[in-house]
Symmetry: C2
Subunit: 212 residues, 2 copies
């Protein structure tokens, strides 16, 4: 496969990046900087920092075995479609917005919204999210993976995790924190690879889109 | 692009995984486990833990700007070749072992050795490495990326970083800690994506091979 273009759709990880309120900022610490020796560092970051994957255990306390290392690789790599939803009015992506894209079984879809146009300098609760009708539609269609361009797929301060549950209970893998500013709507090849942290309810991921 | 098979060539990250002596084991800590709330965790790991990428700053103290976020995406994604070197006697991969594969400019190569056959349960200094003649040959051929199946590309306790330097000074990206047990020699599509940790001299990566 020849690649025409590679687009990085991950958020760079740094101490000054946006994080969900209450989460700690990532920390890079140099653990060895001795002349004549190689330099070493360690990184500490929340599993839901920046671009990341949610496993079902994130919102289902009983799903202690449904952690990152159990997600099939097919959820991370394959043909995908970026849905251009930047023209949607308001902050809720509903079933009516997704219907026209005719979602199908096992597909990987990434939702590009106004979030990507605004950028990711500072955290805001005024972000575009997926509502319950859209999540239920994704579940019914049987898609494999959904990616969103903000730190959470669901409405802020919802008081519940219904949107996460509708997706994760139906074996849909969730990528959050994508930056789709540089990706137009259309077809791509997606590689979104989370660190394989055994036993974790989420993991940071580096994600790219390929034009092939 | 249709994918026939996806092979995970990364080492799972856990507190009991092998680490280079002197390095701390990775740590997964649950930072929130409150009924009715989503579960959260944080991960701490050395930048050279498990499967990872070395940036030039790792061995060149002056190269403070040659860090992970500066490596072109083409070093991480593209057609690649797994070189079957499992029959090599002794622990040194030399120029003479690589010559027959006719390395070419901008290629991604992954070296499969006895390391992958033995597995990665416990750290050993008795590992197969790339010697200076092989590193110089890679530099001369102008390959883009080299991946090795142990935690370091060079001979243990070498007393210098010549092999790293020969590669990194020549803009060859290094993946270390690959597990190539499940990959036969031959052609694949490679996606090896390190976390984009700004300012870091290395970063953990998840890597896959695709049969297409």
């Amino acid at each position: 496969m020849k690649v025409k273009k590679i687009i990085d759709i991950s958020l760079p990880i740094s101490g000054s990046m946006l994080v969900y309120p209450g989460n700690a900022a990532p920390k890079l610490e140099f653990t060895r900087k001795i002349p004549g020796k190689s330099i070493l560092s360690a990184i500490t970051l929340g599993s839901h920092t920046g671009t990341h994957v949610d496993a079902r255990m994130h919102v289902r306390h009983g799903a202690v075995k449904e952690t990152i290392e159990k997600i099939p690789l097919e959820a991370f790599v394959g043909e995908c479609r970026v849905l251009d939803l930047t023209k949607v009015k308001g902050n809720a992506i509903g079933e009516r917005h997704l219907r026209k894209f005719k979602l199908k079984k096992n597909k990987i879809i990434l939702l590009k919204t106004k979030n990507s146009l605004r950028g990711f300098k500072k955290f805001t609760f005024d972000y575009v999210y997926v509502d319950e009708s859209a999540a239920a539609y994704c579940a019914k269609a049987g898609i494999r993976t959904i990616g969103v361009d903000y730190l959470s797929v669901q409405k802020p301060n919802s008081g519940n995790y219904r949107v996460h549950e509708l997706l994760l209970d139906n074996k849909i893998t969730i990528f959050e924190g994508l930056n789709l500013a540089k990706a137009k709507g259309g077809k791509y090849f997606f590689a979104g690879l989370p660190l394989n942290v055994v036993g974790a309810e989420g993991a940071p991921a580096r994600c790219v889109l390929l034009e092939v």
